[in-house]
């Protein structure tokens, strides 16, 4: 379907926030789901590009207003994203979605811990919005946000507005803790376990190595954990079998699973003992 660009806002040198008018997708969207965008009508790039749904959007300030569109938070890494960044308000783009399996929020979550690396923050804000809307939590929800430099620390204020307490780290120390975000996250987990706060659910999105480490930590403490993974995609709808990843759990013994269909969000914590060695 076609969506009109409401705004394509440049956050910093490489990050953009794209607001799209597409009520149909917006109203069906769940946190963790994604859309496939055709950035132009040329043969290069040939394929659509996958982007997480960053937020539902509404023009009205009324809280209970129906969603009229979605936002995408993206980083320029190649041709497709560069082209997307060049589009302006009023332009129309071809988009399909919402696609894939998002974060599962069915059971009451008493203590959500979110962890993101860089652009991984994108889908977590939608999740944070939902957590904030739906839940009166016994403990303050927390977000661990890591990046290379302070430019990669995205949406800080938005998460704070959603009532999250933030832990920030940057590799160059330009904001927050200097180092990798796994360090404060591990420390927190260790302490939480000591103090008996084991009703933790982890939601993670970011580079694959970070996802492995988060999953490993979750299993170590036997915590519930969901991670959002990435893989190159062609169809985005489960038809081509191109986007598989090796990520199995007890309920899903098949070796390769489609990021676009069974994912992008996968169970990664205590329910994933079957193939622990492979992660």
């Amino acid at each position: 379907m076609t969506a009109k660009i409401i705004e394509n806002y440049r956050i910093s040198s490489y990050y953009y926030r794209l607001t799209l008018d597409c009520a149909e997708i917006a109203q069906k969207a769940a946190p963790g789901q994604f859309v496939m965008i055709r950035v132009n009508h040329e043969v290069e790039p040939l394929l659509r590009r996958p982007f997480s749904i960053h937020r539902q959007w509404t023009s009205s300030s009324h809280r209970s207003a129906q969603a009229e569109g979605i936002q995408i938070l993206f980083r320029i890494v190649g041709k497709g994203t560069a082209h997307l960044a060049s589009l302006s308000r009023g332009a129309k783009i071809d988009i399909i979605g919402p696609l894939g399996q998002g974060f599962r929020l069915k059971t009451a979550i008493s203590h959500p811990l979110l962890i993101a690396g860089g652009i991984g923050a994108a889908p977590l804000l939608f999740l944070a919005d939902r957590i904030e809307e739906a839940q009166a939590l016994p403990l303050q929800p927390r977000l661990f946000l890591g990046g290379k430099t302070k430019e990669d620390i995205l949406c800080r204020e938005d998460f704070e507005k959603d009532g999250f307490s933030l832990h920030i780290s940057t590799e160059d120390g330009s904001m927050g803790h200097k180092g990798l975000i796994m360090e404060p996250f591990s420390d927190y987990l260790k302490q939480a376990m000591l103090s008996g706060k084991n009703e933790i659910t982890i939601f993670a999105c970011g580079p694959l190595p970070l996802m492995y480490k988060v999953a490993e930590a979750a299993r170590q403490y036997n915590l519930s954990c969901q991670v959002s993974l990435e893989q190159k995609m062609a169809c985005g709808v489960g038809a081509c079998l191109g986007c598989v990843i090796e990520w199995a759990d007890a309920d899903n013994p098949s070796r390769y699973r489609r990021v676009c269909k069974e994912g992008p969000v996968f169970e990664a914590g205590r329910r994933c003992e079957a193939r622990r060695q492979e992660l």
């Binding site: 055709r38 043969v43 290069e44 790039p45 040939l46 394929l47 659509r48 589009l87 302006s88 009023g90 332009a91 071809d94 399909i96 893989q231 190159k232 995609m233 062609a234 169809c235 985005g236 709808v237 489960g238 038809a239 081509c240 079998l241 191109g242 986007c243 598989v244 990843i245 090796e246 098949s254 070796r255 390769y256």
Partner: protein, 325 residues
């Protein structure tokens, strides 16, 4: 935003209006009656269901499902995809649910569709092909079989069946004897002389040939200094291969008497017409689904528009209708 000026069509619109009769796009081939010549290529359309949310499957001439093997195959390790200029490299490794699960879990959905269903089959030995053909022939929802002969023949050191006239003949003949279903042989383009392979398949009794399968290709991630695909070499599809496909469809059409189903980089109606003029009786949309799930419908509309513009009433009027200087 850039202004997007319209392109002036070389012929006036009057030509189109003058003949508004809806053209007849039905086509009979290999004993099949297709409501139109637009099929979907194996492996690019899952088992049909995946795209049912995006298009009306009943509007398709035929659905060719993902290749099925006797036993489930888990496929190749990722990464399985790489984009190239105007093309896509894939190395799915023939991942599929296997014959049994296909019949149990995938075929039932297709019962509700009134387009033809063609099952693409693959094997590593002739016996596997025969077993697949025998079993699938028992199911009335299966309208035809498409033999993917681009698979490694384990009895011949892993060389693909379809790269050799003799192996092609043998596998087609064996399957021909095992099934009464219409039989389509899908040819590999990675050969010196595709017309010769097509002739062997014809001699062995295939009812039609389809082509082209993907062209072997490779891409390298120069920053990591490793192949972009885990399995190094993959199959190239998409607009990049269209001229190769058109050439092969033309050569094969000249060489055989059976119908040819053309594919390779078809993105729109004009591309499809190119294949029909080259001699194809029907065409398949493949990689284009990934770009736009509505492609098959748009391709059909494009063919109809072309027929109206030049006042062709039936598909037979355009198939192979090419003036060679």
């Amino acid at each position: 935003m850039t202004r997007k000026p319209e392109i002036r069509s070389q012929e006036s619109e009057a030509g189109i209006r003058s003949s508004c009769r809806q053209p007849d796009t039905r086509i009979r081939l290999a004993g099949l009656e297709l409501k139109n010549p637009v099929m979907v290529a194996s492996g690019t359309f899952g088992y049909g269901e995946e795209y049912s949310r995006f298009i009306d499957l009943n509007q398709l001439g035929a659905i060719v499902v993902k290749g099925i093997s006797l036993h489930p195959m888990e496929g190749n390790p990722p990464p399985r995809l790489a984009e190239t200029p105007a093309g896509l490299l894939n190395s799915i490794g023939l991942q599929n649910v296997g014959l049994e699960a296909f019949i149990k879990t995938k075929l039932p959905f297709l019962e509700s569709i009134d387009s033809l269903v063609i099952v693409n089959i693959l094997g590593h030995t002739i016996d596997e092909y025969v077993a697949l053909a025998t079993e699938l022939s028992k199911h009335s929802r299966v309208d035809a079989l498409e033999l993917n002969i681009s698979c490694p023949n384990v009895d011949k050191g892993g060389l693909a069946f379809g790269t050799d006239c003799q192996s092609t003949f043998e596998v087609v003949q064996a399957v021909r004897q095992a099934t009464g279903l219409p039989l389509i042989t899908k040819l590999s383009p990675n050969v010196t002389n595709i017309a010769a392979i097509a002739s062997s398949a014809q001699e062995a009794g295939t009812d039609a040939v389809s082509l082209i399968n993907t062209v072997l290709g490779m891409a390298i991630d120069i920053h990591q200094r490793k192949p972009a695909l885990a399995r190094v070499v993959g199959g190239l599809s998409g607009p990049a291969i269209k001229p190769i496909a058109v050439r092969m469809v033309f050569q094969v059409s000249q060489a055989v008497d059976i119908p040819v189903i053309g594919m390779g980089g078809i993105m729109n109606g004009d591309d499809a017409v190119e294949f029909l003029l080259a001699g194809a009786s029907a065409i398949s949309v493949g990689t284009a689904h990934f770009v736009d799930p509505e492609t098959p419908i748009k391709v059909l509309k494009g063919i109809e528009k072309y027929m109206m513009r030049y006042q062709f009433n039936t598909l037979a009027d355009i198939i192979g209708n090419l003036t060679i200087p």
